[in-house]
Protein backbone atom coordinates (compact mmCIF):
# COMPACT_ATOMS: atom_id res chain seq x y z
CA UNK A 1 0.00 0.00 0.00
CA UNK A 2 1.23 3.53 -0.64
CA UNK A 3 2.45 5.28 2.49
CA UNK A 4 0.47 8.37 3.51
CA UNK A 5 3.26 9.81 5.62
CA UNK A 6 6.91 9.47 4.58
CA UNK A 7 10.26 10.87 5.58
CA UNK A 8 13.18 11.32 3.19
CA UNK A 9 16.67 11.67 4.66
CA UNK A 10 15.15 13.28 7.76
CA UNK A 11 17.79 14.63 10.14
CA UNK A 12 16.87 16.10 13.51
CA UNK A 13 19.19 17.63 16.07
CA UNK A 14 18.50 19.39 19.35
CA UNK A 15 21.01 21.20 21.52
CA UNK A 16 23.88 19.86 19.34
CA UNK A 17 22.78 16.27 19.94
CA UNK A 18 22.04 13.99 16.97
CA UNK A 19 18.60 12.53 17.44
CA UNK A 20 17.72 11.22 14.01
CA UNK A 21 20.14 10.95 11.07
CA UNK A 22 19.01 10.42 7.49
CA UNK A 23 15.78 8.61 8.36
CA UNK A 24 13.78 7.39 5.35
CA UNK A 25 10.61 5.57 6.29
CA UNK A 26 6.99 5.21 5.13
CA UNK A 27 3.88 4.94 7.32
CA UNK A 28 1.05 3.11 5.58
CA UNK A 29 -2.69 3.00 6.19
CA UNK A 30 -3.78 0.27 8.58
CA UNK A 31 -0.54 0.38 10.59
CA UNK A 32 -0.10 1.17 14.27
CA UNK A 33 3.47 2.32 14.92
CA UNK A 34 5.28 2.41 18.24
CA UNK A 35 8.15 4.89 18.59
CA UNK A 36 10.46 3.54 21.30
CA UNK A 37 13.61 4.98 22.80
CA UNK A 38 15.31 6.04 26.01
CA UNK A 39 14.65 9.41 27.73
CA UNK A 40 16.04 12.23 25.63
CA UNK A 41 16.49 10.07 22.53
CA UNK A 42 14.28 12.38 20.46
CA UNK A 43 10.90 10.65 20.38
CA UNK A 44 8.90 13.84 20.96
CA UNK A 45 11.09 15.86 18.59
CA UNK A 46 10.51 13.27 15.88
CA UNK A 47 6.76 13.23 16.51
CA UNK A 48 6.58 17.03 16.22
CA UNK A 49 8.56 16.89 12.98
CA UNK A 50 6.23 14.19 11.62
CA UNK A 51 3.26 16.41 12.54
CA UNK A 52 4.79 19.28 10.56
CA UNK A 53 5.22 21.42 13.68
CA UNK A 54 8.99 21.47 13.61
CA UNK A 55 11.49 22.14 10.83
CA UNK A 56 14.12 19.47 10.16
CA UNK A 57 17.87 20.15 9.91
CA UNK A 58 17.72 18.40 6.56
CA UNK A 59 15.42 16.09 4.67
CA UNK A 60 11.67 16.37 4.70
CA UNK A 61 8.39 14.87 5.80
CA UNK A 62 5.76 14.30 3.11
CA UNK A 63 2.04 13.86 3.58
CA UNK A 64 0.49 12.17 0.53
CA UNK A 65 3.60 13.11 -1.43
CA UNK A 66 3.61 16.81 -0.48
CA UNK A 67 6.18 18.39 1.86
CA UNK A 68 4.17 18.82 5.05
CA UNK A 69 5.83 22.16 5.83
CA UNK A 70 4.45 23.57 2.59
CA UNK A 71 0.85 22.67 3.39
CA UNK A 72 -1.28 25.30 5.08
CA UNK A 73 -1.71 24.66 8.80
CA UNK A 74 -5.42 24.20 8.24
CA UNK A 75 -5.09 21.62 5.44
CA UNK A 76 -2.53 19.74 7.50
CA UNK A 77 -4.72 19.73 10.62
CA UNK A 78 -7.60 18.25 8.65
CA UNK A 79 -5.46 15.14 8.06
CA UNK A 80 -2.93 14.99 10.92
CA UNK A 81 -3.73 15.31 14.62
CA UNK A 82 -1.33 15.17 17.56
CA UNK A 83 -1.77 14.45 21.23
CA UNK A 84 0.94 16.34 23.10
CA UNK A 85 2.82 14.95 26.06
CA UNK A 86 1.75 17.92 28.17
CA UNK A 87 -0.89 20.54 27.40
CA UNK A 88 -0.98 23.62 29.59
CA UNK A 89 -4.43 25.09 30.21
CA UNK A 90 -3.79 28.40 31.95
CA UNK A 91 -7.28 29.79 31.32
CA UNK A 92 -10.55 28.40 32.59
CA UNK A 93 -12.79 26.78 29.99
CA UNK A 94 -15.34 24.00 30.23
CA UNK A 95 -14.53 20.46 29.19
CA UNK A 96 -17.03 20.69 26.35
CA UNK A 97 -15.65 23.99 25.00
CA UNK A 98 -12.14 22.56 25.05
CA UNK A 99 -13.10 19.41 23.18
CA UNK A 100 -15.10 21.42 20.65
CA UNK A 101 -11.83 23.19 19.78
CA UNK A 102 -10.95 20.01 17.87
CA UNK A 103 -13.40 21.04 15.14
CA UNK A 104 -11.36 24.20 14.39
CA UNK A 105 -9.58 22.95 11.24
CA UNK A 106 -12.88 21.80 9.74
CA UNK A 107 -14.64 25.14 10.16
CA UNK A 108 -14.40 28.12 7.83
CA UNK A 109 -13.18 31.49 9.09
CA UNK A 110 -16.70 32.88 9.51
CA UNK A 111 -18.36 29.58 10.35
CA UNK A 112 -19.80 28.65 13.74
CA UNK A 113 -19.97 25.09 15.06
CA UNK A 114 -23.09 23.33 13.77
CA UNK A 115 -25.11 20.42 15.20
CA UNK A 116 -22.74 17.89 13.60
CA UNK A 117 -19.74 19.46 15.38
CA UNK A 118 -21.53 19.51 18.74
CA UNK A 119 -22.50 15.88 18.14
CA UNK A 120 -18.88 14.92 17.39
CA UNK A 121 -17.71 16.53 20.64
CA UNK A 122 -20.47 14.83 22.63
CA UNK A 123 -19.66 11.42 21.14
CA UNK A 124 -15.92 11.88 21.81
CA UNK A 125 -16.53 12.87 25.44
CA UNK A 126 -18.74 9.82 25.93
CA UNK A 127 -16.09 7.58 24.32
CA UNK A 128 -13.46 8.60 26.88
CA UNK A 129 -15.92 8.43 29.78
CA UNK A 130 -16.18 12.16 30.40
CA UNK A 131 -19.82 12.73 29.41
CA UNK A 132 -20.76 13.63 32.97
CA UNK A 133 -18.02 16.26 33.25
CA UNK A 134 -18.91 18.20 30.08
CA UNK A 135 -19.74 21.44 31.93
CA UNK A 136 -16.86 21.23 34.43
CA UNK A 137 -14.03 23.81 34.23
CA UNK A 138 -10.93 22.01 32.93
CA UNK A 139 -8.91 23.49 35.79
CA UNK A 140 -10.81 21.21 38.21
CA UNK A 141 -10.06 17.95 36.36
CA UNK A 142 -7.57 15.36 37.66
CA UNK A 143 -4.47 14.38 35.68
CA UNK A 144 -6.11 11.29 34.20
CA UNK A 145 -9.32 13.16 33.37
CA UNK A 146 -7.32 15.84 31.57
CA UNK A 147 -5.48 13.20 29.57
CA UNK A 148 -8.84 11.76 28.50
CA UNK A 149 -10.07 15.25 27.68
CA UNK A 150 -7.08 15.79 25.37
CA UNK A 151 -7.80 12.45 23.70
CA UNK A 152 -11.43 13.45 23.25
CA UNK A 153 -10.24 16.66 21.59
CA UNK A 154 -8.14 14.58 19.17
CA UNK A 155 -11.09 12.28 18.45
CA UNK A 156 -13.27 15.33 17.79
CA UNK A 157 -10.67 16.60 15.34
CA UNK A 158 -11.01 13.16 13.71
CA UNK A 159 -7.78 13.16 11.67
CA UNK A 160 -6.86 10.15 9.51
CA UNK A 161 -3.34 10.24 11.00
CA UNK A 162 -3.12 10.35 14.81
CA UNK A 163 0.27 11.00 16.41
CA UNK A 164 0.17 10.38 20.15
CA UNK A 165 2.93 11.30 22.60
CA UNK A 166 2.72 8.98 25.59
CA UNK A 167 -1.08 8.72 25.39
CA UNK A 168 -1.45 6.56 28.49
CA UNK A 169 0.37 8.95 30.86
CA UNK A 170 -1.71 9.45 34.03
CA UNK A 171 -4.22 6.80 32.95
CA UNK A 172 -5.26 3.88 35.14
CA UNK A 173 -5.09 0.34 33.61
CA UNK A 174 -8.77 0.34 32.66
CA UNK A 175 -8.51 3.55 30.64
CA UNK A 176 -5.11 2.55 29.21
CA UNK A 177 -6.76 -0.49 27.61
CA UNK A 178 -9.96 1.31 26.66
CA UNK A 179 -8.24 4.23 24.94
CA UNK A 180 -5.52 2.26 23.18
CA UNK A 181 -8.18 -0.12 21.78
CA UNK A 182 -10.29 2.84 20.72
CA UNK A 183 -7.43 4.60 18.90
CA UNK A 184 -5.89 1.45 17.40
CA UNK A 185 -9.25 0.38 15.95
CA UNK A 186 -9.31 3.64 13.96
CA UNK A 187 -6.39 2.32 11.88
CA UNK A 188 -8.84 -0.13 10.26
CA UNK A 189 -10.67 2.77 8.62
CA UNK A 190 -9.59 3.50 5.04
CA UNK A 191 -6.51 5.71 4.89
CA UNK A 192 -6.07 5.83 8.68
CA UNK A 193 -2.95 5.08 10.73
CA UNK A 194 -1.52 5.86 14.17
CA UNK A 195 1.94 6.57 15.53
CA UNK A 196 2.39 6.20 19.31
CA UNK A 197 5.31 7.30 21.43
CA UNK A 198 5.29 4.71 24.20
CA UNK A 199 7.47 3.94 27.20
CA UNK A 200 5.89 0.60 27.92
CA UNK A 201 7.33 -1.98 25.50
CA UNK A 202 4.66 -4.46 26.51
CA UNK A 203 1.84 -2.09 25.52
CA UNK A 204 3.60 -1.65 22.18
CA UNK A 205 3.80 -5.44 21.75
CA UNK A 206 0.11 -5.74 22.47
CA UNK A 207 -1.28 -2.90 20.39
CA UNK A 208 1.18 -2.02 17.63
CA UNK A 209 2.07 -3.64 14.33
CA UNK A 210 5.31 -1.78 13.66
CA UNK A 211 8.12 -0.21 15.68
CA UNK A 212 10.56 2.63 15.15
CA UNK A 213 13.37 2.53 17.71
CA UNK A 214 15.65 5.49 18.37
CA UNK A 215 19.09 4.40 19.49
CA UNK A 216 20.02 7.80 20.97
CA UNK A 217 22.91 8.54 18.58
CA UNK A 218 20.95 9.26 15.42
CA UNK A 219 20.66 5.63 14.33
CA UNK A 220 17.25 4.01 14.11
CA UNK A 221 15.75 0.56 13.57
CA UNK A 222 12.32 0.14 12.13
CA UNK A 223 9.99 -2.44 10.66
CA UNK A 224 7.31 -4.93 11.71
CA UNK A 225 7.36 -5.03 15.49
CA UNK A 226 8.00 -8.74 15.89
CA UNK A 227 11.02 -8.56 13.62
CA UNK A 228 12.54 -5.46 15.23
CA UNK A 229 12.04 -5.99 18.94
CA UNK A 230 14.06 -8.52 20.93
CA UNK A 231 15.81 -8.48 24.27
CA UNK A 232 19.21 -7.59 22.81
CA UNK A 233 17.89 -4.57 20.88
CA UNK A 234 15.93 -3.33 23.89
CA UNK A 235 19.00 -3.65 26.11
CA UNK A 236 21.04 -1.52 23.76
CA UNK A 237 18.25 1.06 23.38
CA UNK A 238 17.43 1.42 27.08
CA UNK A 239 20.87 0.58 28.48
CA UNK A 240 19.51 -1.87 31.01
CA UNK A 241 19.14 -5.66 31.09
CA UNK A 242 15.82 -6.95 29.66
CA UNK A 243 14.40 -10.42 30.17
CA UNK A 244 11.95 -11.97 27.70
CA UNK A 245 9.06 -13.92 29.23
CA UNK A 246 6.76 -16.12 27.21
CA UNK A 247 3.07 -16.02 28.10
CA UNK A 248 0.07 -17.66 26.43
CA UNK A 249 -0.77 -14.51 24.41
CA UNK A 250 2.77 -13.80 23.23
CA UNK A 251 5.81 -12.40 25.00
CA UNK A 252 6.65 -9.80 27.63
CA UNK A 253 9.86 -7.92 28.42
CA UNK A 254 10.80 -7.29 32.03
CA UNK A 255 13.56 -4.82 32.86
CA UNK A 256 16.25 -5.57 35.43
Amino acid sequence: MTPRLETFGLTLRAGGKRLVEELTIGFEPGQNWAVLGANGSGKTTLLHALAGLRAAQSGEVRLDGVNIRELSARRRAQQVGILFQESPMPFPATTFETVLGGRHPHLGFWQQEGPADLEAATVALAAVGLADLAERPVTTLSGGERRRLELASLLTQDPALCLLDEPVNHLDPRYQMLLLRLVCARAQRPGHLNIFVLHDVNLALRFCSHALMLCGDGRTRHGPLDAVVDAGVLESVYGCPMREVRIDTGRLFLPG
Binding site: S72, R76, F84, P88, P90, F91, E97, G102, H104, P105
Partner: protein
Protein backbone atom coordinates in the same frame (compact mmCIF):
# COMPACT_ATOMS: atom_id res chain seq x y z
CA UNK B 1 -24.30 30.84 23.25
CA UNK B 2 -25.13 28.89 26.40
CA UNK B 3 -28.01 29.96 28.63
CA UNK B 4 -25.53 31.13 31.23
CA UNK B 5 -23.62 33.20 28.64
CA UNK B 6 -26.82 34.80 27.39
CA UNK B 7 -27.79 35.82 30.93
CA UNK B 8 -24.42 37.46 31.43
CA UNK B 9 -24.65 39.32 28.12
CA UNK B 10 -28.14 40.63 29.05
CA UNK B 11 -26.85 41.79 32.42
CA UNK B 12 -23.98 43.63 30.73
CA UNK B 13 -26.31 45.20 28.17
CA UNK B 14 -28.43 46.47 31.07
CA UNK B 15 -25.34 47.73 32.88
CA UNK B 16 -24.31 50.05 30.04
CA UNK B 17 -27.39 52.37 30.06
CA UNK B 18 -27.43 52.23 33.87
CA UNK B 19 -23.82 53.44 34.03
CA UNK B 20 -24.59 56.23 31.55
CA UNK B 21 -27.70 57.28 33.49
CA UNK B 22 -25.62 57.63 36.65
CA UNK B 23 -22.88 59.53 34.84
CA UNK B 24 -25.32 61.95 33.21
CA UNK B 25 -27.47 62.57 36.28
CA UNK B 26 -24.82 63.02 38.98
CA UNK B 27 -22.46 65.95 39.36
CA UNK B 28 -22.18 69.47 40.71
CA UNK B 29 -25.84 69.82 39.75
CA UNK B 30 -27.63 66.52 40.16
CA UNK B 31 -30.62 65.89 37.95
CA UNK B 32 -33.78 64.00 38.82
CA UNK B 33 -34.44 60.97 36.59
CA UNK B 34 -37.46 62.78 35.11
CA UNK B 35 -35.35 65.81 34.12
CA UNK B 36 -32.68 63.57 32.61
CA UNK B 37 -35.35 61.80 30.60
CA UNK B 38 -36.68 65.12 29.32
CA UNK B 39 -33.20 66.21 28.27
CA UNK B 40 -32.50 62.95 26.48
CA UNK B 41 -35.83 63.05 24.65
CA UNK B 42 -35.20 66.67 23.59
CA UNK B 43 -37.99 68.29 25.63
CA UNK B 44 -35.70 70.33 27.88
CA UNK B 45 -33.30 72.95 26.53
CA UNK B 46 -32.03 74.92 29.53
CA UNK B 47 -29.02 74.52 31.76
CA UNK B 48 -29.66 70.79 32.36
CA UNK B 49 -29.46 70.18 28.61
CA UNK B 50 -26.14 72.02 28.36
CA UNK B 51 -24.80 70.10 31.35
CA UNK B 52 -25.83 66.71 30.06
CA UNK B 53 -25.30 67.01 26.32
CA UNK B 54 -22.25 69.28 26.17
CA UNK B 55 -20.30 68.28 29.27
CA UNK B 56 -21.32 64.98 30.79
CA UNK B 57 -22.26 62.97 27.71
CA UNK B 58 -18.98 63.50 25.80
CA UNK B 59 -17.02 62.71 28.93
CA UNK B 60 -19.05 59.57 29.65
CA UNK B 61 -18.67 58.43 26.04
CA UNK B 62 -14.91 58.98 26.26
CA UNK B 63 -14.81 57.01 29.51
CA UNK B 64 -16.77 54.18 27.92
CA UNK B 65 -14.48 54.08 24.90
CA UNK B 66 -11.30 54.12 26.99
CA UNK B 67 -12.58 51.48 29.41
CA UNK B 68 -13.65 49.28 26.51
CA UNK B 69 -10.30 49.72 24.73
CA UNK B 70 -8.33 48.85 27.85
CA UNK B 71 -10.43 45.79 28.67
CA UNK B 72 -10.24 44.54 25.08
CA UNK B 73 -6.47 45.10 24.92
CA UNK B 74 -6.06 43.39 28.30
CA UNK B 75 -8.02 40.34 27.15
CA UNK B 76 -5.91 40.06 23.99
CA UNK B 77 -2.59 40.46 25.82
CA UNK B 78 -3.52 37.89 28.45
CA UNK B 79 -4.02 35.39 25.62
CA UNK B 80 -0.86 36.49 23.79
CA UNK B 81 1.31 36.13 26.90
CA UNK B 82 -0.70 33.16 28.06
CA UNK B 83 -0.79 34.82 31.43
CA UNK B 84 -4.09 35.68 33.12
CA UNK B 85 -2.32 38.41 35.09
CA UNK B 86 -1.05 40.46 32.15
CA UNK B 87 -2.43 43.97 31.58
CA UNK B 88 -2.33 46.39 28.62
CA UNK B 89 0.69 48.24 30.03
CA UNK B 90 2.89 45.20 30.57
CA UNK B 91 4.56 45.69 27.17
CA UNK B 92 5.60 49.26 27.86
CA UNK B 93 3.22 50.94 25.42
CA UNK B 94 1.96 53.33 28.09
CA UNK B 95 5.53 54.05 29.19
CA UNK B 96 6.40 55.23 25.69
CA UNK B 97 3.29 57.39 25.61
CA UNK B 98 4.13 58.86 29.02
CA UNK B 99 7.70 59.79 28.05
CA UNK B 100 6.50 61.49 24.87
CA UNK B 101 3.54 63.22 26.50
CA UNK B 102 5.53 64.54 29.48
CA UNK B 103 8.31 65.66 27.18
CA UNK B 104 5.76 67.59 25.14
CA UNK B 105 4.20 69.11 28.26
CA UNK B 106 7.64 70.21 29.49
CA UNK B 107 8.31 71.84 26.14
CA UNK B 108 5.04 73.72 26.53
CA UNK B 109 3.37 72.19 23.46
CA UNK B 110 -0.40 72.39 23.07
CA UNK B 111 -2.72 69.53 23.96
CA UNK B 112 -3.09 68.38 20.34
CA UNK B 113 0.70 67.97 20.16
CA UNK B 114 0.78 66.22 23.51
CA UNK B 115 -1.79 63.71 22.27
CA UNK B 116 -0.12 63.20 18.92
CA UNK B 117 3.28 62.68 20.54
CA UNK B 118 1.84 60.30 23.13
CA UNK B 119 0.47 58.20 20.30
CA UNK B 120 3.76 58.29 18.43
CA UNK B 121 5.66 57.44 21.63
CA UNK B 122 3.53 54.37 22.21
CA UNK B 123 4.00 53.24 18.60
CA UNK B 124 7.78 53.61 18.92
CA UNK B 125 7.81 51.43 22.04
CA UNK B 126 5.46 48.94 20.39
CA UNK B 127 7.91 48.47 17.50
CA UNK B 128 10.94 48.52 19.80
CA UNK B 129 9.62 45.78 22.07
CA UNK B 130 8.48 43.76 19.07
CA UNK B 131 11.89 44.05 17.40
CA UNK B 132 13.86 43.25 20.55
CA UNK B 133 11.76 40.24 21.46
CA UNK B 134 12.24 38.88 17.95
CA UNK B 135 16.01 39.28 18.08
CA UNK B 136 18.25 36.26 17.85
CA UNK B 137 16.78 33.04 19.15
CA UNK B 138 13.22 31.82 19.19
CA UNK B 139 10.26 33.98 20.10
CA UNK B 140 8.64 33.00 23.37
CA UNK B 141 6.02 34.72 25.46
CA UNK B 142 8.51 34.86 28.35
CA UNK B 143 10.96 36.75 26.17
CA UNK B 144 8.27 39.18 25.03
CA UNK B 145 7.09 39.69 28.59
CA UNK B 146 10.60 40.34 29.91
CA UNK B 147 11.44 42.70 27.04
CA UNK B 148 8.22 44.63 27.68
CA UNK B 149 8.81 44.84 31.41
CA UNK B 150 12.37 46.09 30.98
CA UNK B 151 11.39 48.71 28.39
CA UNK B 152 8.51 49.82 30.63
CA UNK B 153 10.91 50.14 33.55
CA UNK B 154 13.32 52.22 31.45
CA UNK B 155 10.43 54.50 30.43
CA UNK B 156 9.49 54.77 34.09
CA UNK B 157 13.00 55.90 34.93
CA UNK B 158 12.89 58.60 32.23
CA UNK B 159 9.50 59.75 33.55
CA UNK B 160 10.92 59.97 37.08
CA UNK B 161 13.87 61.98 35.78
CA UNK B 162 11.53 64.42 34.03
CA UNK B 163 9.45 64.79 37.18
CA UNK B 164 12.59 65.47 39.21
CA UNK B 165 13.88 68.08 36.80
CA UNK B 166 10.54 69.72 35.97
CA UNK B 167 9.78 73.21 37.32
CA UNK B 168 7.65 72.98 40.47
CA UNK B 169 4.68 74.65 38.78
CA UNK B 170 4.47 71.99 36.08
CA UNK B 171 4.75 68.90 38.25
CA UNK B 172 1.05 68.66 39.05
CA UNK B 173 0.14 68.84 35.33
CA UNK B 174 2.57 66.02 34.62
CA UNK B 175 1.25 63.94 37.50
CA UNK B 176 -2.31 64.42 36.36
CA UNK B 177 -1.43 63.07 32.92
CA UNK B 178 0.42 60.11 34.43
CA UNK B 179 -2.41 59.10 36.71
CA UNK B 180 -4.94 59.06 33.93
CA UNK B 181 -7.73 61.57 33.54
CA UNK B 182 -10.75 61.97 31.33
CA UNK B 183 -11.21 65.71 31.89
CA UNK B 184 -9.68 66.46 28.51
CA UNK B 185 -11.56 63.73 26.73
CA UNK B 186 -13.73 65.83 24.50
CA UNK B 187 -13.21 63.83 21.32
CA UNK B 188 -14.96 60.59 22.16
CA UNK B 189 -16.19 59.67 18.69
CA UNK B 190 -12.89 58.58 17.23
CA UNK B 191 -12.10 56.56 20.34
CA UNK B 192 -15.47 54.82 20.04
CA UNK B 193 -14.72 54.21 16.37
CA UNK B 194 -11.35 52.66 17.30
CA UNK B 195 -13.10 50.45 19.86
CA UNK B 196 -15.67 49.30 17.30
CA UNK B 197 -12.97 48.66 14.70
CA UNK B 198 -10.87 46.74 17.23
CA UNK B 199 -13.82 44.54 18.15
CA UNK B 200 -14.68 43.89 14.51
CA UNK B 201 -11.07 42.92 13.79
CA UNK B 202 -10.67 40.72 16.86
CA UNK B 203 -14.02 38.91 16.87
CA UNK B 204 -13.50 36.69 13.81
CA UNK B 205 -10.35 35.39 15.53
CA UNK B 206 -12.25 34.47 18.70
CA UNK B 207 -12.21 30.76 17.98
CA UNK B 208 -8.49 30.88 17.13
CA UNK B 209 -7.84 32.77 20.39
CA UNK B 210 -9.50 29.95 22.32
CA UNK B 211 -6.86 27.61 20.90
CA UNK B 212 -3.96 30.06 21.23
CA UNK B 213 -4.80 30.35 24.93
CA UNK B 214 -3.89 26.64 25.18
CA UNK B 215 -0.43 27.22 23.71
CA UNK B 216 1.14 27.99 20.36
CA UNK B 217 1.80 24.34 19.61
CA UNK B 218 -1.82 23.45 20.28
CA UNK B 219 -3.04 26.25 18.03
CA UNK B 220 -0.63 25.16 15.29
CA UNK B 221 -1.66 21.52 15.66
CA UNK B 222 -5.29 22.51 15.20
CA UNK B 223 -4.60 24.39 12.00
CA UNK B 224 -3.81 27.98 12.98
CA UNK B 225 -1.06 30.02 11.37
CA UNK B 226 0.36 30.99 14.76
CA UNK B 227 2.89 33.52 13.56
CA UNK B 228 0.24 35.56 11.77
CA UNK B 229 -2.10 35.24 14.74
CA UNK B 230 0.61 36.30 17.20
CA UNK B 231 1.55 39.39 15.16
CA UNK B 232 -2.12 40.27 14.74
CA UNK B 233 -2.88 40.08 18.45
CA UNK B 234 0.25 41.99 19.39
CA UNK B 235 -0.26 44.93 17.07
CA UNK B 236 -4.00 45.14 17.63
CA UNK B 237 -3.60 45.10 21.41
CA UNK B 238 -0.78 47.67 21.27
CA UNK B 239 -2.77 50.02 19.01
CA UNK B 240 -5.87 49.77 21.21
CA UNK B 241 -3.75 50.54 24.27
CA UNK B 242 -2.06 53.44 22.48
CA UNK B 243 -5.46 54.92 21.58
CA UNK B 244 -6.69 54.61 25.16
CA UNK B 245 -3.52 56.07 26.66
CA UNK B 246 -3.49 58.95 24.20
CA UNK B 247 -7.04 59.91 25.13
CA UNK B 248 -6.84 59.52 28.89
CA UNK B 249 -3.35 58.69 30.16
CA UNK B 250 -2.47 55.41 31.82
CA UNK B 251 -5.63 54.40 33.67
CA UNK B 252 -4.78 51.28 35.60
CA UNK B 253 -6.48 48.02 36.51
CA UNK B 254 -9.41 48.09 34.06
CA UNK B 255 -7.49 46.06 31.49
CA UNK B 256 -6.27 43.63 34.12
CA UNK B 257 -9.35 43.06 36.25
CA UNK B 258 -12.18 43.07 33.70
CA UNK B 259 -11.18 40.01 31.63
CA UNK B 260 -10.21 38.23 34.80
CA UNK B 261 -13.57 38.94 36.44
CA UNK B 262 -15.46 37.70 33.40
CA UNK B 263 -13.41 34.52 33.19
CA UNK B 264 -14.14 33.87 36.85
CA UNK B 265 -17.89 33.95 36.23
CA UNK B 266 -17.54 31.44 33.40
CA UNK B 267 -17.16 33.72 30.39
CA UNK B 268 -14.40 31.65 28.81
CA UNK B 269 -15.13 31.50 25.06
CA UNK B 270 -13.26 34.42 23.49
CA UNK B 271 -15.96 34.94 20.89
CA UNK B 272 -18.14 36.08 23.81
CA UNK B 273 -15.44 37.34 26.13
CA UNK B 274 -14.10 40.03 23.78
CA UNK B 275 -17.47 41.76 23.50
CA UNK B 276 -18.36 41.27 27.15
CA UNK B 277 -14.99 42.69 28.24
CA UNK B 278 -15.54 45.83 26.15
CA UNK B 279 -19.03 46.30 27.63
CA UNK B 280 -17.96 45.74 31.23
CA UNK B 281 -14.71 47.71 30.94
CA UNK B 282 -16.55 50.65 29.38
CA UNK B 283 -19.33 50.65 31.97
CA UNK B 284 -16.92 50.36 34.90
CA UNK B 285 -14.85 53.30 33.73
CA UNK B 286 -18.00 55.42 33.21
CA UNK B 287 -18.97 54.76 36.83
CA UNK B 288 -15.40 55.26 38.11
CA UNK B 289 -15.12 58.58 36.29
CA UNK B 290 -18.42 59.75 37.76
CA UNK B 291 -17.09 58.93 41.22
CA UNK B 292 -13.78 60.64 40.44
CA UNK B 293 -15.45 63.94 39.64
CA UNK B 294 -18.01 63.83 42.48
CA UNK B 295 -16.48 62.19 45.56
CA UNK B 296 -14.36 65.20 46.55
CA UNK B 297 -16.27 67.82 44.52
CA UNK B 298 -15.50 70.50 43.62
CA UNK B 299 -12.02 68.89 43.46
CA UNK B 300 -11.66 66.31 40.67
CA UNK B 301 -9.66 63.17 41.33
CA UNK B 302 -7.74 61.66 38.43
CA UNK B 303 -9.85 58.63 37.52
CA UNK B 304 -6.68 56.49 37.37
CA UNK B 305 -6.25 56.97 41.11
CA UNK B 306 -9.77 55.77 41.71
CA UNK B 307 -9.51 52.68 39.49
CA UNK B 308 -6.22 51.81 41.19
CA UNK B 309 -7.68 52.29 44.68
CA UNK B 310 -10.69 50.12 43.83
CA UNK B 311 -8.81 47.76 41.53
CA UNK B 312 -5.88 46.88 43.80
CA UNK B 313 -7.88 45.13 46.53
CA UNK B 314 -10.08 43.45 43.94
CA UNK B 315 -7.03 42.23 42.09
CA UNK B 316 -5.38 40.93 45.25
CA UNK B 317 -8.55 39.03 46.01
CA UNK B 318 -8.52 37.49 42.52
CA UNK B 319 -4.84 36.64 42.88
CA UNK B 320 -5.49 34.84 46.15
CA UNK B 321 -8.19 32.81 44.40
CA UNK B 322 -5.99 32.14 41.38
CA UNK B 323 -3.35 30.55 43.62
CA UNK B 324 -5.70 27.62 44.05
CA UNK B 325 -5.84 27.01 40.31
CA UNK B 326 -3.28 24.61 38.82
Amino acid sequence: MTRNGRGLRLALLALVPAAFAVALAIGSVSLAPATLWQVLTGREHGLPATLVLDLRLPRALAAFAVGGLLALAGTLLQVLLRNPLADPYVLGVSGGAAVAALGSLLLGLGSAWVNANAFIGSLVVMLLVFGLSHGRGAWTETRLLLTGVVVATACGAIVSLMLALAPQAQVSTLLFWLLGDLGLGNAPWWALAVLAAGLLLALPFGRALNLYARGELMAAALGENVRRLRYGIYFLAALLTAAAVTLAGAIGFIGLVVPHLLRLVGDTDHRRLLVDAALLGGSLLVVADTLARTVLAPAQLPVGVLTALLGAPLFLYLLARAARLP
